[in-house]
């Protein structure tokens, strides 16, 4: 068999698989651009008036009060961004002092963080809600059904992984760098802000991607902590509420699924290399 022929066969195999991989997404898009009756008649057929019907469905989604798409979308962005900022800052600070202060307590604290990674969310999910509710009652700070609570929760649940990865990276930064800065008159805070944080940039990008995808797509934590039908809804929560409680209007469901995926796909196209490297690198460590 000639080299050229085997290459052609390989290429065909990859293309067939590609079609298998992409068809589901194509069908979702195509049905989101149909009218109700068109979907009932045939789900495999192509839409007859994709653009005008697409706009109609898009407007129907935006206007739907049960889904409250714009509100859910904004909430998802607020919660994801705020949690990422909190998680990154808090995690980098903790990891730095844990590496640079070589005491027994540092070693133990780090061990506890790492060990906690085996705890599945299900093991803490039920008591978490009642515990947050009692803290709210005693302190007056609302932790359930609030931004504060869910951002705190994401900071807590992400801290172990974030500290673990920063810890590994900071160990490789030469200590002489910090000593030199200290001799030049920097205090600890300045060293962290001006020397350490800029060096952490590559690992921070990896962590933002890993944690960002997790928080944006997460469903169970918002479900138990925010609750369905609450004013603060994330996108997955709003979508499950919308789909679960009404007659199946597939074209609208498909439209809202597409709308929720588009931001992720745009991000992926823009930062493909970073995202793949970040997600794979994060797992391998």
């Amino acid at each position: 068999m000639s080299k050229k022929m085997s290459k052609t066969i390989l290429f065909i195999a990859m293309t067939v698989l590609l079609i298998l991989w992409i068809t589901p997404i194509f069908l979702v898009v195509s049905n989101s651009l149909k009218e109700y009756q068109e979907v009932v008649n045939s789900k495999a057929a192509l839409p007859t008036a994709p653009i005008s019907q697409g706009i109609t469905n898009f407007q129907a989604i935006l206007a739907n009060e049960n889904l409250n798409f714009v509100n859910s979308f904004l909430n998802s962005i607020i919660i994801t961004v705020a949690s990422l900022v909190s998680l990154t800052v808090v995690g980098a600070m903790a990891a730095w002092v844990l590496v640079r202060t070589k005491t027994k307590s540092s070693a133990i604290i780090f061990m506890v963080f790492v060990a906690s990674m085996v705890i599945p969310f299900q093991a803490v999910m039920l008591p978490l809600v009642s515990w947050f509710a009692s803290v709210s009652r005693f302190t007056g700070i609302a932790l359930t059904r609030s931004y504060t609570g869910i951002i705190l929760a994401y900071t807590g649940f992400g801290s172990a992984m974030t500290i673990f990865m920063y810890h590994g990276f900071i160990k490789s930064i030469p200590y002489e760098l910090e000593e030199a800065a200290r001799i030049d008159g920097c205090n600890q805070y300045q060293i962290f802000l001006r020397i350490i944080l800029p060096i952490l940039k590559p690992i921070t990008i990896t962590l933002l991607i890993l944690n960002g995808i997790w928080i944006w797509n997460d469903f169970l934590l918002p479900l138990v902590l925010l609750g369905q039908g609450n004013a603060i809804q994330t996108l997955p929560l709003g979508i499950s509420f919308f789909i679960g409680s009404f007659v199946k209007q597939w074209e609208l469901i498909m439209m809202c699924l597409i709308l929720s995926i588009i931001p992720v796909i745009i991000l992926f196209i823009l930062g493909q290399k970073h995202i793949i490297r970040g997600m794979v690198g994060g797992a391998v460590k």
Binding site: F11, M14, N31, G91, V97, L126, F268
Partner: protein
């Protein structure tokens, strides 16, 4: 000197406290009280009585739990095998020297970015909508095929991710070793068995562990695809949800049956199982490192 030391200690705790506070508030305290609750008659609101191992005895004797445990194991083993075989096949394809492989890699990787919940809804439509329209059949309507449908969807989602780990490992195999073996007369299959597979040992440890834990803990996809259904009648006469894995069973017991204390006991058992899995994993990795 002394002043500097104390200020250093001060900085240490200033930097550490926010992380510790969030960690203790969301993981340590809920975990500890969760274990305590599992030994009481906790209703989700209050505790009036210590009941010892009653909740554990109840959950261990419950047919819905026993079914979910067996199902979780079968489901995890099957999906680990399927995902890894598909992922390895894809990785072999996209590491060939061909134009455009980067595009194919990205395309296979794409489903990973979509959340499990959304994926489940997409495939519910594809099975119950498109497939039913074309063939008057949906795999989700039958207890056995529903399980395979879930494994299929998980593979579609996760294989591209695992593929990338294999791709990284395959590209790390030095070209001159393959070249040398080619000169010695090894064909592609020989190379795969005697050179590539042994050199991928550490990649296999990672991918097997990731897929195992991911399947074991899977909730979102099952919740939105089947929500545990359809029901199945066991030989004992008990009726269970046929695709209830442990993760889904805990959720339903707590929020649909409102059986909080028993659900919490089940969650503790779930934690113990995962810890055992992780310890075995650490053991295996350590052994491999010694050999290498």
């Amino acid at each position: 000197m002394k002043k500097k030391l104390t200020s250093q200690k001060f900085v240490y705790w200033i930097f550490l406290t926010p992380a510790l506070l969030a960690f203790v508030m969301t993981i340590v305290i809920p975990f500890v009280i969760g274990v305590y609750y599992s030994f009481t008659n906790w209703t989700g609101m209050k505790v009036t009585e210590f009941v010892g191992f009653d909740n554990y005895i109840e959950v261990l004797g419950d047919s819905s739990f026993k079914y979910a445990l067996v199902l979780t194991i079968i489901f995890s083993v099957l999906s680990v095998i399927t995902i890894n075989v598909v992922a390895f096949g894809l990785a072999t394809l996209v590491t060939q020297k061909l134009r455009g492989v980067n595009f194919f890699r990205a395309a296979y990787f794409l489903p990973n970015l979509i959340g499990g919940l959304i994926l489940g809804y997409i495939w519910q439509f594809l099975f119950n909508g498109v497939m039913y329209d074309l063939f008057s059949y949906s795999p989700l309507s039958n207890a056995n095929s529903a399980l395979f449908a879930i494994i299929f969807v998980l593979t579609w989602q996760y294989a591209g991710y695992i593929m990338m780990i294999y791709v990284t490992a395959l590209l790390n195999i030095p070209e001159d070793i393959l070249e040398a073996s080619r000169i010695d007369g090894a064909n592609r299959i020989n190379q795969l068995i005697y050179i590539k597979l042994p050199m991928l040992a550490s990649a296999f440890t990672i991918t097997l562990f990731l897929t195992l834990v991911n399947s074991f803990k899977q909730f979102d996809v099952i919740f939105s695809l089947t929500n545990g259904g359809p029901s199945r009648e066991l030989a004992s006469g008990a009726v269970v949800n046929s695709t209830n894995t442990l993760a889904v069973d805990i959720y339903q017991r707590a929020f649909q049956l409102k059986d909080m204390q028993v659900a919490q006991a089940e969650a503790v058992i779930f934690f113990i199982l995962l810890t055992v899995l992780s310890l075995i994993q650490v053991r295996v990795t350590k052994n491999k490192e010694v050999e290498a």
